[in-house]
């Protein structure tokens, strides 16, 4: 009898301290045309989960739980991505979802999460369209696409000589259309003349400022064709490529002068619970993966951290409770201050950056210039 009681006691004790593994599911572009950015997310999720597990994991209901990741390769195919998220939920029975890269993927995949009432935190989609559907379970660590050129336009207002006209070029997909809509509104408010057409209706070389919202391929071709055709805008800024190392490497010296924006720079002032600060994070990332992280990487890590803080605050892994905790989460991290608005999107200002001497230099944030902007850019032949 006493042996039986002892067995029962041991069993109850074990059950009380049994720590479950919390599994995240994600479908990311590891192969296919956008794999060069998709891999940032795989590395970010792996890195964050390893770091958090090394520090003891997540505290849930009195026990420390480890995190695990089930990652699938969607081959840059949206339809496969949707099927994979369904599989992650129904077959692999993951606890929570992490997002893919790219707004068009997030738009489709988020519907799966919402239908299953499982929270998804994604760091890959910035399009405002993601947050217009009244979804309650989707949170995003990328600030709104409509504001991408915000700091650039604020900087333009302070330039001397002021830009006479702006060409706004954009590709035909959710993210870029979002950017264009928001940017043209901001330009109008700033009183800057805009030529919105994708096509040049008059002298092609007469634009003083060109803003491009497009994919890396188009931006790369734009720069090379501008050089080849002798088109020298005084200022040109892109929504993609400039913060990313492989883009700068592909262009070499031709990347100098290009402006862009990022919501994140590896600054030591961004303190983090697990990584120390953003500067240490960037160093450790480079040591582990062999390339420099950019805001995609930081946004991916922020997604994992947001989940951990929410789970600890909710004290449970119940999807509805964690969802409620995510909506209220507010903490500082290597990515900046993480808090989601009532639509589920983070609000972070974009920092205008420019490539000078092969390095990314922060130019403008808030209301002031941080460093000198190279403007007007000299003609291609004179660089």
């Amino acid at each position: 009898m006493s042996r039986f009681a002892f067995l029962v006691a041991t069993f109850c004790f074990a059950a009380a301290t049994y720590a479950q593994t919390i599994t995240f599911g994600a479908s990311v572009q590891l192969t296919g045309p956008v794999a060069n950015t998709g891999r940032y997310y795989k590395d970010a999720y792996d890195f964050a989960i390893d770091k958090i597990n090394a520090a003891g994991g997540v505290k849930v209901g009195g026990a420390q739980s480890k995190l695990a990741l089930k990652l699938l390769d969607n081959q840059s195919d949206v339809n496969l991505s949707v099927r994979q998220y369904s599989q992650l939920l129904s077959q692999d029975k993951v606890n929570f979802l992490l997002g893919p890269f790219a707004s068009n993927f997030v738009l489709a995949d988020s519907s799966i999460a919402e239908k299953a009432s499982v929270p998804m935190v994604q760091g890959g989609g910035a399009s405002d369209e993601i947050y217009t559907r009244g979804y309650k379970f989707i949170f995003g660590t990328l600030p709104p696409a409509s504001d991408y050129f915000g700091s650039t336009i604020d900087a333009m207002k302070k330039l001397n000589p002021p830009p006479s006209s702006v060409a706004l070029l954009y590709a035909d997909d959710s993210f870029d259309v979002s950017v264009a809509k928001g940017t043209s509104a901001l330009l109008q408010k700033a009183g800057i003349k805009v030529a919105l057409d994708q096509r040049y209706s008059s002298n092609a070389s007469d634009f003083s400022v060109v803003l491009v919202a497009g994919h890396e391929t188009e931006v790369l071709n734009f720069i090379r064709q501008a050089k080849g055709l002798g088109v020298s805008p005084k200022l040109y800024s892109f929504t993609v490529g400039v913060p990313s190392a492989d883009f700068r490497q592909a262009l070499g010296k031709d990347a100098n002068g290009a402006s862009g924006m990022t919501a994140w720079l590896p600054s030591a002032s961004l303190k983090d619970t697990w990584f120390g600060d953003a500067e240490a994070f960037a160093r450790d990332w480079k040591a582990r993966f062999g390339y420099d992280p950019d805001y995609h990487a930081a946004a991916g890590v922020a997604a994992v951290e947001a989940f951990v803080k929410a789970i600890e605050s909710a004290g449970s892994t119940d999807p509805a409770k964690v969802r409620a905790a995510l909506a209220k989460v507010s903490f500082d991290s290597l990515y900046g201050h993480i808090a989601f608005n009532d639509k589920g999107q983070i609000s972070l200002p974009q920092i205008m950056i420019q490539i000078q001497n092969d390095k990314v230099v922060p130019i403008f944030a808030g209301t002031d210039f941080i460093n000198k902007l190279e403007y007007p850019l000299p003609a291609w032949g004179k660089r």
Binding site: P33, R39, Y200, N203, T217, L220, Q249, L251, D254, W380
Partner: protein, 287 residues
């Protein structure tokens, strides 16, 4: 007017490069009756070969083209001799499947070895341009155009006047008669495929100087080469020049007047039109 001329000039230069891309495909298709779905992957490999010679050994990309051609010729010869020869007498569907499989394998090997990072071949003179009557012409594109046209004409002369060329044409017209004349089909087929691959490789190297390289550029380029080969007609090697120029100009004009989104609609629209009105291609025989 200025803008129209500029766009036409760009279209013509682009068209020359397209013609070279399609030449390899048309050659293999016309002679071996193989629609090589891995053609784009061979273009991609040629682009990478030129890129690595440029960045690794600092060989000027245009000087590296002959080496690229030889490397791709060897690869093409091996693919034909080793793999395609096994299904060449079978239904065409089998060759479609096998070449599709080769395309998938080559693409993912490239992803494994070279990663998905974008590369660009950026020689120091990449931005040089000269003005002709108010139109700006990029130097690199002119050189690519000149090489493309030269190779196409050279291929035409090769097929017409050399022994191997005549052997290739003979095998295409009547294999039994060709064998009676001493043509070894296995060798001729492998040489032809190798030539097609070599042309694809050179086109890839040139493509890398005007656009960017990643493992996935192959698919759309195969489709484009396919369209050009059909538009130009398979019977005459000069047909690809006509097809390429046609496509280059149509794409540039569409991008200007209708919108860049409709470029592919216009390209493939022309293809459908040609298939309806003149199925053997613009330069094909009408019998």
């Amino acid at each position: 007017m200025q803008l129209l001329l500029q766009v036409l000039a760009s279209g013509v230069l682009l068209g020359g490069l397209y013609a070279l891309m399609a030449l390899g495909l048309a050659l293999v298709w016309g002679v071996l009756n193989i629609v090589n779905l891995s053609h784009g992957a061979l273009i991609m490999l040629g682009a990478y070969a030129t890129y690595f010679m440029f960045t690794g050994a600092h060989i000027d990309p245009f000087a590296a083209l002959p080496v690229t051609a030889i490397v791709l010729f060897v690869i093409g010869y091996a693919i034909q001799r080793g793999i395609l020869n096994l299904v060449i007498r079978g239904p065409m569907f089998n060759t479609l499947l096998i070449t599709f499989g080769i395309e998938v394998v080559l693409t993912y090997l490239a992803q494994l070895w070279f990663s998905a990072d974008f590369r660009a071949i950026n020689p120091t003179y990449a931005g040089a341009n000269f003005a002709v009557g108010g139109i700006t012409i990029p130097l690199v594109q002119v050189i690519s155009f000149a090489i493309a046209i030269a190779l196409t004409v050279a291929m035409w002369l090769f097929l017409l006047h050399t022994r191997i060329g005549r052997g290739i044409r003979a095998s295409a017209q009547n294999l039994v008669a060709a064998r009676l004349y001493g043509v070894d089909p296995k060798r001729i087929y492998a040489v032809t495929f190798g030539l097609g691959a070599a042309l694809a490789g050179v086109a890839g190297g040139l493509y890398g100087t005007v656009s960017q390289i990643n493992p996935y550029i192959g698919g759309p380029l195969t489709a484009k080469s396919f369209a050009i080969a059909i538009i130009g007609g398979l019977d005459n090697p000069l047909g690809v020049i006509v097809g390429g120029l046609c496509l280059g100009i149509v794409e540039s004009l569409t991008a200007l007047y209708i919108g860049p989104t409709y470029r592919d609609v216009a390209s493939f629209g022309i293809l459908v039109l040609v298939l309806i009105v003149r199925p053997s291609g613009l330069l094909g025989r009408t019998t």
